[in-house]
């Protein structure tokens, strides 16, 4: 498997989002944590990742803490808890924290 990219920057951090997007390839996965989960309400931000064919995940406790509801139209984002976060770090051989 490829690289698990863990992104915690808010959608307003354009540079971090852009750099992360540029580094990603189809076999990678993106996990949104902390303020990055706000992007789930802004589908346009996630579209470029979906076009690349990467797997998208978001940390559910961070979503709930921020009022980002998992039952809204989710655009193929997988919700994970902390233990599933760990499972992702097992599945992907490398982890990059943005």
């Amino acid at each position: 498997m490829g690289v698990l990219h863990v992104l915690g920057q808010p959608p307003s951090s354009r540079e971090a989002w852009r750099h992360c997007r540029q580094r990603m390839v189809a076999r990678d996965a993106l996990l949104l944590v902390a303020d990055a989960v706000y992007a789930i309400d802004q589908g346009a931000l996630l579209e470029p990742f979906q076009v690349k064919g990467v797997s998208l995940y978001a940390l559910l406790p961070d979503m709930l803490a921020r009022g980002v509801r998992p039952d809204e139209p989710s655009r193929r984002v997988g919700w994970v808890d902390f233990e599933e976060f760990v499972d992702l770090t097992v599945k992907y051989q490398r982890v990059l924290m943005w």
């Binding site: 915690g8 902390a34 303020d35 406790p61 961070d62 760990v86 097992v90 990059l96």
Partner: protein, 134 residues
């Protein structure tokens, strides 16, 4: 960047090194603790947590935060005791912030000890996964 060769044991369990750069009240500190707890819950080995930059404030004994924050201060000490995790504070970062001095080597919260970056490098080389928080 933290890229390394993987060395998965046949039983599927991995060894982890975590680095915490965030201070106790920053969001990434919660993320680190949640992840650390989950590593142990999943049966993996959390070899060492290395506190660097503002992360060294985790080891400040006697911090008295407002109520909702209280759990964030002592939780690593309890975690280390329960699971035998090595909590290491970067000596230079701690000294720079007044968290620790070589002359008074008794100021750290329970379960923390001081070491240098060499120990971090050793951990990275001998574990399967290395994650940085903050």
């Amino acid at each position: 960047m933290n890229e390394q060769e993987t060395n998965i044991e046949s039983d599927g369990f991995l060894k982890y090194t975590l680095q915490v750069n965030a201070s106790p009240c920053q969001g990434e500190a919660d993320l680190a603790f949640g992840f650390a707890s989950a590593v142990v819950a999943r049966g993996h080995e959390l070899s060492r947590v290395f506190f660097y930059r503002d992360g060294v404030y985790h080891a400040l004994k006697g911090a008295q935060p407002a109520d909702p924050q209280t759990a964030k201060i002592g939780r690593w000490s309890g975690f280390a005791q329960s699971h035998g995790v090595d909590l290491v504070v970067c000596s230079a970062a701690a000294q720079r912030r007044g968290v620790w001095t070589p002359e008074e080597d008794n100021g750290l919260a329970r379960g923390f000890r001081v070491a240098g970056l060499a120990l971090l490098v050793e951990s990275i080389m001998t574990t399967d996964r290395y994650l940085i928080f903050g």
